[in-house]
């Protein structure tokens, strides 16, 4: 067994894992972060997607021991039920989810994507989500949700006088779903 420390959503967790323990199982079984789900154990479906240092990673094919010294962010940190992240809000408004099993991964992938491409075309959104399978929605309302969130987030950061779309989360979360880079400074421009 290996003793490791994993930083998840800003909190340090000390745990003992086997060298082969997958990050998804460490997150779910050892630390109780059950937002990311196991769908295929082969990085095909993306239900397990989390952020490692701001990058969307499929945690079912990442070893827990390799995630030491990284900032891991799960869906649990993106927004709360009473204070949803713009992507979470747009998924609800656009009916971008049904059973919800793929949703945490889908949203985390979309969050990283919008961080890099704040004003994507529908085609680009579909390409970006290619690694996240959904069996319920037929994807159209997911694409709508990402498109709407992009517009919402761009509009919110544009003035950038009051911190834009940065939710007031007490500063514990290094990741705000792509609106703000890890250093907490507002994005320069949301594009248009």
């Amino acid at each position: 067994m290996e003793d490791i420390t994993l930083t998840v959503n800003g909190t340090d967790h000390e745990l003992s894992v086997e060298p082969r323990t997958l990050l998804i199982h460490a997150l779910r079984d050892e630390m109780g972060y059950t937002g990311p789900n196991v769908g295929c154990e082969s990085s095909m479906c993306g239900a397990c997607t989390v952020h490692i240092d701001g990058r969307a990673v499929k945690s079912c094919t990442e070893l827990a021991v390799r995630a030491e010294d990284s900032e891991i962010t799960t869906i649990e940190d993106l927004g709360d039920e009473g204070d949803l992240h713009p992507l979470q809000k747009s998924f609800q408004e656009e009916h971008g989810l049904q059973c919800g099993y793929c949703t945490p991964g889908m949203v985390m992938t979309a969050a990283e994507f919008l961080d890099e491409e704040p004003d994507p075309s529908r085609e680009e959104i579909r390409e970006a989500l290619e690694g996240n399978l959904c069996r319920c929605t037929g994807y159209q309302n997911i694409v709508n949700a990402v498109e709407s969130a992009a517009a919402e987030m761009s509009a919110a950061v544009e003035p950038a006088t009051d911190g834009g779309a940065v939710p007031d989360d007490g500063g514990t979360a290094p990741d705000n779903g792509g609106v703000v880079p890890g250093d907490g400074s507002p994005v320069e421009s949301g594009g248009d």
Binding site: E18, R20, T21, D29, Y33, T34, G35, N37, V38, G39, C40, E41, S42, M44, C45, T74, E76, L78, G79, D80, E81, L84, Q88, F91, Q92, E93, E94, H95, L97, Q98, C99, G100, Y101, C102, T103, P104, V107, R122, I125, R126, E127, E130, G131, N132, L133, C134, R135, C136, T137, G138, Y139, Q140, N141, V143, N144, E147, S148, A149, A151, E152
Partner: protein, 804 residues
């Protein structure tokens, strides 16, 4: 929100959701309110079965057959037993239960074969369960399962239903052949006569390939046993907890009243979580055996190997048609793949959910359909989204397209010519159904308008001259759903009634808990049922909480499948709510010092006729009902009602789907130009949820048409056993869809709803195939088998020389 300024593309627009707080109480039914289940699903707060952690919980893994057909010579568990963390290794001889997985549907000459929880001396499909291992940790259980040694004596395998019915086929069960049943519907003699009299007969052989459901959440179970009171709790991925309770109680010999089945959040099902498999029962048995909680979640590999598959038909179809385009008769002969054992509803799927739908939207004087069910060395085949109805609609709509081409009629006009007339409902088909209501021309006309059909044909002609091949494909589908009138299905072989139960309970503070025996797993029942109940009671939508999925909380239930929840479960809630109102009316009348006959109920208030100021809100009546200080003499305290609703008939959604594609004959590539879906699902409780169901259904239908298929080699080894090999459509694979609807209420139920869960899946495959065949008409292509891979399309083009 951003959608207000979105583009004018109708595919982008869709139905706009509203916040429930912005909806007047009187308008709540029929409003596209945002789903109330979403915040927990979107934040990771949802609880799926594998999220459940119990103290002292052990983990189970299942040892499965490597081969599709073999005798088991020896099972050696000794190495596994000695491994770290292992607390138990069990084989068939350890199971002290009746241990036979039941079938819930009988047919006249159905051969019911033994289906043990763990294989005893023979395995009949790759993945058949042989042994189970329970260990302290998840990985330890899998390690030990890998260490169980099984010696096999391999047998020849058979995969396709047609092959399995051949005389020299390997036999699965101890009988002379692999026939599971033979079944027919319609009048053979009348159909022969109709064919003899008709001007032309068109024939078509089609394979409706085996599909793997691929719910994103693999099946999972957590079982917990309390020996002191013999209570067994099973949390599992179930579409029908009460059905699972009933069946499991028999399978593992546990009293039904001490067995609780709880479906927490369930990550999709599409049929695959209806059935009673061996696995979930094994977990429950192990928890009881070990007197500690046990968890199992299928790996994705296991779901590919063991989830009940769908379709699997080999069909010869014939249609008799006159030169003026009038259909005179239809003849269908199908070999249906049943897999290795009979799954829960398996016998009903290729029979009463298939043959009865072969009239489609058409007035056909004579139909005969016969089906032979065949055992093969693949996993059990049962209901997968649509279940029998997609297979029926596919052969009917493919034959109709070929018939239209044969008599040189436009395929849309050919359909219109043969539609059941809107004035002829209820309409009795020659295959035993009575369609409730319909107006088929309406959805066809709207679809033609949306694709600008006349302009399309001109464009198509022009494009062909330029060497580009556009095609348009129609699917005028019908389905029977809202399963089902209990007496009728009992006569047809169901070993259960298909009613539904609802419980509506006021709290003393005037809020409401509504419970239903259906069990949603993505359909948004928490939202739609709350809309229904709030509307009936005139209370605030936010004051209604919906509870599903727990056999300890809900009186009884038959579950969610067959697009039955709104039509049957919703109606049960309406019935319960109306009983609550009638009791409340008596209490209100007493309080208002009036006769109940003189008290009216409107918008949540009781008032005396002609004296609107003498009124009382139903929430205040609830308080009086629980205070019980001053009730009428014949009224007991409390305000709740449990109702069982048994429908009088199925309901019959219908619609027209149109695919517009461009096919590259040089590469076989297919590009969608458009996909239009016009559906009539009766009244809509929540149009956004309806739209979402159509989108998702179409995606699975497009998946069948273009990408998906369970494929086996000659040894019965699954060659599409992972998401790498089985093409679950990705975001890039599904076209943008343009949806609209017409509304023809069903007269069958109080909500006037039909059903929408399966519509898209039923409609889409033949729309796509018809479009591709239309595009390749210059190459004399008449049919291509699904999935329409580039290679198959290219081959079809080149079979006829590749010249247009």
């Amino acid at each position: 929100m951003a959608t207000e300024e979105s583009s004018a593309d109708p595919r982008r627009e869709g139905v706009q959701t509203v916040d429930a707080e912005d909806v007047d109480a009187a308008e709540i039914l029929g409003s596209a309110v945002e789903r109330r289940e979403d915040p927990s699903l979107l934040t990771g707060d949802a609880e799926y079965t594998d999220d459940i952690q119990l103290p002292e919980m052990a983990h189970m893994a299942i040892v499965r057959s490597q081969y599709a057909h073999a005798r088991i010579e020896e099972i050696d568990t000794s190495a596994a037993e000695g491994m770290a963390g292992v607390v138990g290794v069990y084989t068939a001889e350890d199971l002290d239960v009746s241990g036979n997985v039941p079938t819930a549907w009988e047919l006249d000459d159905l051969r019911e074969v033994d289906h043990p929880l763990l294989a005893e001396d023979r395995v009949r499909y790759q993945g058949d369960a042989i042994a189970m291992v329970v260990a302290e940790e998840r990985y330890q259980a899998h390690d030990a399962a890998d260490a169980v040694e099984v010696d096999y004596d391999r047998l020849d395998a058979v995969v396709d239903p047609g092959d399995s019915l051949d005389e020299d086929a390997p036999i699965l069960h101890d009988e002379d052949d692999n026939t599971a049943f033979t079944w027919e519907i319609g009048d053979a003699d009348e159909t022969d006569a109709a064919f003899a009299d008709a001007d032309r007969v068109v024939e078509l052989d089609v394979t409706n390939q085996l599909l793997i459901p691929n719910a994103m959440e693999p099946r999972a179970t957590v079982a917990d046993y309390e020996p002191g009171d013999d209570e067994l709790e099973v949390h599992m991925t179930s579409q029908n907890p009460h059905v699972h309770r009933l069946l499991m109680s028999g399978v593992i010999d546990h009293p039904e009243h001490k067995l609780r089945i709880n479906a927490p959040d369930v990550g999709g099902g599409f049929g695959s979580k209806i059935h009673h498999y061996p696995d979930e029962a094994l977990v429950a048995w192990a928890a009881k055996q070990l007197e500690r909680p046990v968890k199992w979640q299928a790996t994705r590999t296991e779901t590919y190997l063991t989830d009940a598959q769908g379709r699997g038909h080999e069909t010869h179809g014939e249609i008799a048609v006159d030169d003026d385009g009038t259909i005179q008769g239809l003849r269908i002969d199908t070999a249906a793949n049943m897999g290795a054992y009979l799954s829960t509803f398996a016998p009903a799927v290729p029979t009463y959910l298939y043959g009865t739908l072969t009239s489609g939207q058409y007035a056909i004087p004579a139909i005969h359909c016969e089906v032979t069910g065949a055992f093969t060395n693949v996993p059990p085949v049962d209901a997968y989204r649509g279940a029998g109805r997609p297979e029926a609609s596919f052969i009917v709509e493919r034959l109709v397209d070929r018939a239209a081409a044969t008599v040189d009629m436009d395929p849309a006009e050919f359909r219109r010519h043969n539609f059941v007339d809107a004035d002829n409902f209820p309409y009795e088909t020659p295959v035993a159904l009575e369609y409730d209501s319909g107006d088929y021309e309406k959805t066809l006309d709207r679809a033609l308008e949306m694709v600008d059909y006349d302009a399309f044909r001109e464009r198509q002609e022009q494009a062909r001259e330029d060497g580009n091949y556009l095609g348009i494909g129609f699917s005028a589908y019908i389905e029977a759903c809202g399963l089902a009138p209990s007496e009728l299905v009992g006569a047809l072989g169901a070993r259960a009634g298909l009613w539904e139960s609802g419980l509506v309970r006021f709290t003393p503070t005037g809020t409401v808990r509504a419970m239903c025996g259906t069990s949603g797993h993505g359909q948004g029942h928490d939202t739609t049922y709350a809309q229904v109940v709030a509307n009936e009671l005139g209370v605030d939508y936010d004051d209604v909480e919906v509870v599903e999925g727990d056999t300890d909380a809900i009186p009884q239930g038959m579950g969610t499948y067959g697009s039955r929840s709104a039509a049957v479960g919703g109606s049960a809630l309406v019935k319960s709510a109306r009983e609550v109102v009638e009791k409340a009316r008596k209490i209100a009348a007493h309080q208002l010092e009036a006769s109940p006959d003189d008290v009216e109920f409107e918008d949540g208030e009781f008032h005396v006729t002609g004296a609107p100021d003498r009124s009382m809100a139903i929430g205040d009546v609830a308080l009086e009902a629980y205070l019980a200080h001053d009730l009428p003499e014949d009224v007991d305290p409390g305000l709740e009602a449990t109702a069982f609703y048994d429908p009088d008939n199925f309901v019959y959604p219908f619609g027209t789907h149109v695919a517009v594609v461009e096919v590259d004959p040089d590469t076989g590539e297919i590009e969608f130009e458009n996909y239009v879906a016009v559906d009539d699902v009766g009244n809509q409780i929540n149009p956004k949820i309806v739209e979402g169901q159509i989108h998702g259904g179409v995606a699975q239908g497009v998946g069948q048409a273009l990408y998906e298929g369970a494929e086996y080699d000659e040894n019965g080894q699954l060659t599409t056993g992972s998401m790498q090999d089985y093409a679950v459509p990705k975001s890039m694979h599904i076209p943008e869809m343009e949806t609209d609807s017409t509304v023809t209420p069903s007269p069958v139920n109080p909500l006037g709803v039909k059903g929408v869960g399966e519509a898209g899946t039923i409609a889409a495959p033949q729309a796509v195939v018809n479009a591709v065949v239309d595009a390749l008409e210059p190459f004399d292509v008449e049919h291509i088998e699904m999935p329409l891979t580039n290679e198959r399309v290219w081959q079809a083009v080149n079979e006829n020389g590749g010249e247009d």
